[in-house]
Symmetry: C2
DNA sequence: CGCTCGGTTGAGACGGTTCAAGACGTGTGG
DNA sequence: CCACACGTCTTGAACCGTCTCAACCGAGCG
């Protein structure tokens, strides 16, 4: 386990209080954890698997607005309705807290609210980064950016220009398409074009080797994704991407 | 003044502490308040005018990731670097606090941090809403959505189907284009198409009358923008759009 | 008066979507 | 073990929306 969750970053007394409140839930791939506009009855931490947050238009178009991985916090505190649906993008296990009880705990322990604040700020930065991606990058750039982010997640990546790194895409093509604001067909075309250029190698539909990271960075049009996030003093863990 | 700023939603003692720390700054249209990746030396509240938050790519492409109006909070607390530039989108006056001093105050007054938390959560919802707009709406839909948001901001709008409402676009065409992830030319074309359909009337480049709000909603493809935000218990003020 | 700047208009090119068909791979039942 | 079927991914061709580039317009200002 690389990352430490919000609950592990607070003092021991508070950890015990949290533990008392917690219960686990499991969902199968595709199940809905919290529907869009549903009152948020519980919040929590992802123990294993991947959650997707998504919004949809009346006519059925959908946009994936975020992914949550192990140790990420999920659920909308302080304000009844969830603005987006939370669904299992794989089989998942969640560590849950009844929302009101959790909120009361933040009143007694400002430290807890502070950790939540740090996570939220990171998520906000990530969301704005994504706005940049959706608003002014081409589809190939988006896909390259997405791959670079996966490289970063997959850990061992001290910008080694020549080395080959294998990455795993933890979600379906359809989800990737929705996340990147494009279609499955286009992703397919771009990915195969990338193999033709020797940037990546396709192991199977969800596993790839990055053969030429430098070219991937060039293709993404974003130098900022080449390096690790600037592990700021408090940076916490939240999915800053 | 319709909205109450973060500083006015806390208890009087804290308001006095804040007042002691505050100083005003003014910027001319176009000036930079905080550059991208600059260390955030101060944070604050918009007194008058409009701020734009924007990110840019190495090659010069830019994305406006948010607008800040009167009484909105600006600046990245708890974490040195600002992930985006903050610039004056008009002449502005700001009420500023030295960042470190402000952060120390949040330690002494959890209430202050809580208000900040509520604002941040609203901003996060807004950012994700914008991801939906950028990721899966067409340009005409985006422009209609933008107009509907302006309708909402301009206050008196209890969903009156027939009534005509005049709105003011407080930023330049270029900024609107960057906000909506499109170009000035396309905006121009769409807006004039909208007048041809009798949806709006152009007073001048930045003032419009909405003649048919129902059609505007249809065009936006989003029912959720037709109504006021569900003024949640704590909802605070932050630019939830 | 003529410059500049923001906005508008037009024509053409291009990227990406759409729709439809085909391949692949995986699990199921005979 | 093979045949079949289903979902997911891939490939192809045509189409359409939006961008690009360039010219034009009008207001504000020196």
């Amino acid at each position: 386990m690389r990352k430490t969750s919000l609950c592990n970053r607070v003092n021991v007394g508070l950890q015990k209080e949290l533990a008392k409140l917690s219960h686990h839930r499991t969902y199968r791939n595709g199940e809905t954890v919290l529907a869009e506009m549903e009152a948020t009855s519980f919040v929590g931490i992802v123990v294993s698997g991947v959650l997707r947050m998504q919004k949809s238009l009346e006519d059925g178009r959908q946009q994936l607005v975020g992914l949550l991985f192990q140790s990420d916090f999920f659920g909308r505190v302080f304000g009844g309705l969830s603005d987006y649906a939370i669904e299992a993008a794989s089989d998942v296990t969640l560590c849950c807290y009844e929302r009101r009880a959790f909120e009361r705990l933040t009143e007694r322990f400002p430290e807890l609210e502070h950790q939540l604040m740090l996570s939220t700020l990171n998520e906000l930065d990530a969301a704005r980064n994504w706005m940049l991606l959706l608003g002014c990058q081409t589809t190939p750039e988006r896909i390259a950016s997405f791959f670079l982010i996966l490289c970063r997640r997959s850990g061992a990546d001290g910008w080694t220009p020549g080395a080959s790194l294998s990455i795993h895409v933890p979600i379906s093509r359809r989800d990737v398409a929705s996340y990147l604001g494009t279609t499955g067909e286009t992703i397919s075309r771009v990915i195969h074009e990338m193999t033709r250029k020797g940037i990546i190698k396709i192991r199977n539909a969800s596993d790839f080797d990055v053969l030429n990271k430098r070219q991937l960075v060039t293709m993404s049009g974003r130098d900022d994704l080449a390096i690790r996030p600037p592990t700021a003093a408090h940076s916490g863990s939240a999915s800053s991407f």
